[in-house]
């Protein structure tokens, strides 16, 4: 079961370009697995001005303030909905559903893994890194963003990752460039058997290709495209069609919110996006 709750904002903190919201959302945090996400209704409860829901990555689940499993969302204020959520204060309520979507699948063996995160979509990779380390998988990490403000902090990953590569488009921190420029080298150095990636479609396509060239599996978490909004985030509306290669090689469309957001990188028909 998934939970649909009126979550209470426990804390809200601005870090760089993102607002980190910690919420009490009974049933959401308890069932969370890295890669699953939460959907938020925009506007006061009962208001019906904006019907489409907004998906947000779950960055962290932890006990806080007497609650067993608070949920931390990372919000990049860029549209009307995300700006509304980012401006919620402690004590405010938001309608929230989660955890949603197919999470990352973990390897059965303690193989080396490479995690690649872009911008706000790097959020689910941090709890994933912890789960992988618990399984004795050597974790390497590539973090990329447009600039330093949009780079999720690599500090907290230092505990879990044995190697971290940082790349920004403007060179404000780490190397100057884009994730596709550095991913092949990171793969070679980590000798990863599985690549986990989250970010924009173009980046994921490049990462999936690099993984294939390297002979690694890839699992990619797609984010909601800004020009193709998801409406329900729960698999009901058929709005978020994503072209994939199905069983027996036949092309088909899946729902990004339900059959994703995590998909095998070699299954997505990137050219048809």
């Amino acid at each position: 079961m998934k939970a649909h709750v009126r979550a209470e904002v426990l804390a809200s903190k601005r870090i760089g370009a993102y607002q980190h919201l910690t919420l009490v959302a009974p049933g959401v945090g308890e069932r969370f697995r890295p890669g699953s996400f939460a959907a938020v209704s925009v506007g006061p409860a009962g208001e019906r001005a904006r019907l489409a829901r907004r998906p947000f990555w779950i960055h962290q689940v932890r006990p806080l303030g007497g609650y067993a499993a608070t949920v931390q969302l990372v919000v990049e204020p860029r549209g009307e909905g995300s700006r509304w959520l980012a401006s919620r204060q402690r004590g405010d309520r938001v309608e929230m559903t989660g955890p949603l979507g197919r999470p990352f699948a973990l390897p059965k063996e303690p193989v080396p893994v490479l995690l690649v995160g872009e911008g706000v979509s790097a959020a689910p990779l941090f709890p994933l890194a912890e789960r992988l380390r618990e399984r004795d998988c050597p974790v390497s990490l590539v973090l990329g963003a447009d600039d330093e403000a949009h780079l999720l902090s690599a500090l907290e990953a230092r505990r879990t990752a044995r190697a971290i590569t940082v790349v920004t488009h403007d060179g404000s921190v780490g190397a100057r460039g884009r994730i596709p420029d550095v991913v092949a080298e990171a793969l070679r150095r980590s000798d990863a058997a599985v690549v986990y990636a989250a970010g924009r479609a173009a980046t994921l396509a490049a990462v999936a290709q690099a993984a294939e060239d390297h002979g690694a599996w890839s699992q990619v978490a797609v984010e909601e495209p800004s020009d193709q909004p998801w409406a329900c985030c729960t698999g009901l509306c058929q709005g978020c069609a994503l072209p994939v290669v199905g069983e027996h090689g036949a092309p088909r469309e899946v729902r990004a919110c339900l059959d994703g957001p995590v998909l095998r990188g070699d299954r997505v028909r990137w050219a048809d996006l």
Partner: protein, 298 residues
């Protein structure tokens, strides 16, 4: 609270509208499907359809503009992979159908009519973009009657035809009269209105934005069918979100209310509205369902 629709006994007057409950399991993740009066499937076609290229949706004030292109696995895929789960779940299953021709509609009805677990067939006569979807364009009310008759004659006794009409106040009364004469057991009034996506592609508009139009349609259709002395029931839909909305549609003459796009906003909406009606103690039950609903509760 039980209700009767086109001869079927339903557990609740709150229904799940076609195309808004996924394939079933997605909605069941938030509560059992048996709590709803019916679970109406997305529109099924004879052949599988992949659906439209994106973007398929846009948000408009209090509404959603949608052009999904009717994605579905085709009747064979539906009967093999989706219907058995729905029947097992305890849902009262209404299968929505749409076709490229009267022959296709008749074939769909023939297949569904002999399948156990199909409580009723709903013909989607409200496709907002029939041309781009390549389905039968039913411009004139007499075309609607032909479609309903083609389906009705293939269905066994006890499996009624529901006719879904769009919330078009100009034509809906004439359309309802004709589909009633053609053999519809009920009319579902308040389907998406023709609209366009921001890039101009044809689409449908649903949500609270169309609720006042849908309410007008339901009231006029219910009156007209009563005057015509038919036994045809009316199901109201179009932007239903709250107990107050349900009450308004029931007061307008609907025997049941279908919840659609509200489920995208809050997947528990229909379950909550159904529970509001069910929670009435037996000794105070009676009268119309509308007597037991509160006002705006959210």
């Amino acid at each position: 609270m039980r209700t009767s629709l086109a001869g079927l006994t339903l557990a609740s007057p709150v229904l799940v509208a076609s195309g808004c409950g996924g394939t079933g399991p997605e909605l069941a993740a938030f509560g059992p499907l048996s709590a709803y009066g019916t679970f109406t499937t997305r529109s099924i076609t004879l052949d599988p359809r992949p659906g439209a290229a994106g973007p398929r949706l846009a948000e408009s004030p209090s509404g959603l503009v949608h052009a999904t292109g009717l994605p579905n696995p085709g009747i064979d895929g539906f009967l093999a992979t989706e219907l058995p789960w729905l029947v097992q779940s305890g849902a009262k299953v209404v299968v929505s159908v749409v076709g490229r021709s009267l022959g296709e509609l008749a074939e769909l009805a023939r297949r569904l009519g002999r399948t156990p677990g199909v409580a009723a067939v709903e013909i989607n006569l409200a496709t907002p973009d029939p041309v781009s979807n390549g389905v039968l364009e039913l411009r004139e009310p007499q075309h609607l009657g032909g479609a309903v008759a083609a389906v009705a004659r293939e269905l066994p006794r006890g499996v009624p035809v529901l006719a879904k009409l769009r919330a078009d106040p100009v034509r809906v009364v004439e359309s309802a009269r004709i589909v009633a004469e053609a053999g519809a057991g009920a009319v579902v009034v308040g389907g998406a209105l023709p609209a366009a996506l921001p890039d101009g592609r044809p689409a449908g508009l649903s949500g609270p934005a169309i609720a006042p139009l849908a309410l007008r349609c339901v009231r006029e259709v219910a009156l007209a069918l009563r005057e015509a002395d038919t036994e045809v029931d009316v199901v109201g839909c179009g932007g239903v979100h709250t107990g107050g909305d349900v009450r308004a549609f029931l007061d307008a003459g609907a025997v049941a209310v279908a919840v659609g796009s509200a489920l995208f906003h809050d997947p528990t909406t229909a379950a909550r509205l159904a529970a509001e009606l069910t929670d009435i103690p037996a000794d105070t039950a009676g009268g119309t369902p509308a007597d037991h609903l509160g006002g705006e509760e959210r």
